[in-house]
């Protein structure tokens, strides 16, 4: 606007300048009104001056809660002469270890709940691949997840479908599995199951772990 006014100045057209001046006056007046209104609101809220009014603001919040946040298989070995053991969680049931002697008692799916007050999208990522998790023979190892609704219709709009109700290799980059995770009670929870295939010749031994990052963002 300033530039425009400068150009107008050079054009030396008094009529144009007058129109511009009027426009700016109007603009200024409107801005001033907004300014005063905002200032009034601010003063009232911070001083509690306004009596006779009940003011509140309900903020929208996205809050993801992981009600079961750990899949813990504990110690175990691959049963000889098998070349791998398979460890699989199954929702809220105890996990199952085949060809190995791990205990599935504390190995249940992660449970993710949207406890905010808006729908949100849900993105997942791990930090390891099967190779970095276990090492050993590539053909004898796997690190996979499977995302499903724990409560019917919790995920209203699925995103990345590769792990929807099926096993897919864990991503180390965030994958948006659900574009619209509901927040309403009884339809706001999802399961993330995991399958670990441990090779008999794992080069990574002892305590092994990975961290799954679960992010909720504004739904599309």
């Amino acid at each position: 606007m300033l530039l425009t006014s400068m150009k107008m100045k050079n054009s030396s057209n008094p009529q144009s300048n007058n129109v511009l001046t009027i426009f700016i006056f109007v603009f200024f007046a409107v801005s001033l009104i907004f300014f005063l209104y905002t200032l009034y609101n601010l003063t009232v809220r911070t001083t509690g001056y306004a009596t006779g009014y009940v003011n509140l603001t309900v903020n929208t919040a996205i809050t993801i809660n992981v009600t079961n946040d750990t899949v813990n298989w504990g110690p175990g070995t691959v049963t000889a002469p098998n070349t791998n053991a398979s460890l699989v969680t199954s929702g809220t049931n105890a996990g199952t270890a085949t060809r190995g002697n791990w205990s599935g008692t504390n190995a249940k799916a992660l449970v993710v709940a949207n406890i905010g007050n808006v729908n949100c999208s849900l993105a997942l990522s791990g930090t390891k691949t099967a190779a970095t998790f276990f090492g050993g023979t590539a053909a004898e190892q796997a690190y996979q997840w499977n995302v499903s609704n724990r409560e019917v219709s919790s995920c209203g709009v699925w995103g990345e479908n590769s792990m929807k109700d099926t096993w897919a290799t864990v991503n180390t980059s965030a994958a948006t599995v659900c574009n619209k995770l509901e927040y309403h009670t009884n339809m706001n929870e999802m399961h993330i199951d995991f399958k670990l295939v441990v090779p008999y010749d794992a080069t990574q031994t002892g305590a092994l772990s990975d961290v799954i990052t679960i992010s909720g963002s504004a739904a599309i």
């Binding site: 606007m1 001046t21 300014f35 993801i64 794992a202 990975d210």
Partner: protein
């Protein structure tokens, strides 16, 4: 000129005022920022397990049984020895070599280990030759699968050792599939004047230690 100056001043005021309003709105409504930035809630899940290391030795063939036999007439001894999983050999005697093959040892753990072999008896304990001659009792360790065992006494007949710990044949016995099996062949030379007659046997102990 007056009008132009006024326009300029008003423009500056307008910009300043707009900026102040902008700041006030953001100060009052921080969630607006969240809306603009895609307010994100982040949480974490954890996957834990422990893979234990262990040494485990399996004898997939755990018996060398020659059955009944005698030394051929006129001979001072008979020699019997296994040859891996091939047919065994009987010299100067009439023992049957059918179904007689070497011990097969497999590393089914998930660590490399050493292999030592200890017998329960030495040669004389086994046969008790009256002249302490013409008697032998030996082991010969070899790879069933290439590269399974690394040691300095492979493919050689070595007198049995009944002292504690026995004889170390493998310094490094692998656990990986297709590289984790060895033979322990057994050679017996039966003297004509054996003091121990009838059924004879021995128990051997094979020990693997993690390396």
């Amino acid at each position: 000129m007056k009008s132009e100056n006024l326009v300029f001043i008003l423009s500056i005021l307008l910009i300043t005022l707009s900026f102040i309003i902008f700041l006030l709105i953001f100060f009052e409504n921080p969630e607006v920022i969240h809306k603009f930035t895609g307010y994100v809630s982040t949480n974490y899940g954890y996957i834990n397990l422990s893979v234990l290391t262990f040494v485990s030795i399996n004898l997939s063939v755990d018996s060398v049984s020659w059955g009944v036999g005698t030394i051929n007439a006129g001979e001072n001894n008979a020699t019997l020895y296994t040859v891996g999983n091939n047919s065994a050999v009987v010299q100067r005697g009439n023992w049957s070599a059918i179904n007689v093959s070497a011990f097969v040892v497999e590393n089914i753990g998930n660590l490399n280990c050493s292999i030592s072999v200890q017998s329960g008896k030495n040669t004389h304990d086994f046969f008790n030759s009256l002249t302490s001659s013409n008697e032998q009792y030996k082991f010969n360790v070899s790879n069933k699968e290439v590269g399974s065992c690394i040691g300095s006494s492979l493919n050689t007949w070595v007198d049995v050792n009944k002292t504690s710990g026995g004889t170390k044949f493998c310094n490094n016995f692998g656990f990986k599939k297709n590289n984790n099996e060895i033979y322990i062949d057994v050679l017996l030379t039966v003297p004509y004047d054996a003091g121990n007659i009838g059924q004879q046997s021995d128990v051997i102990v094979i020990t693997g230690d993690a390396v």
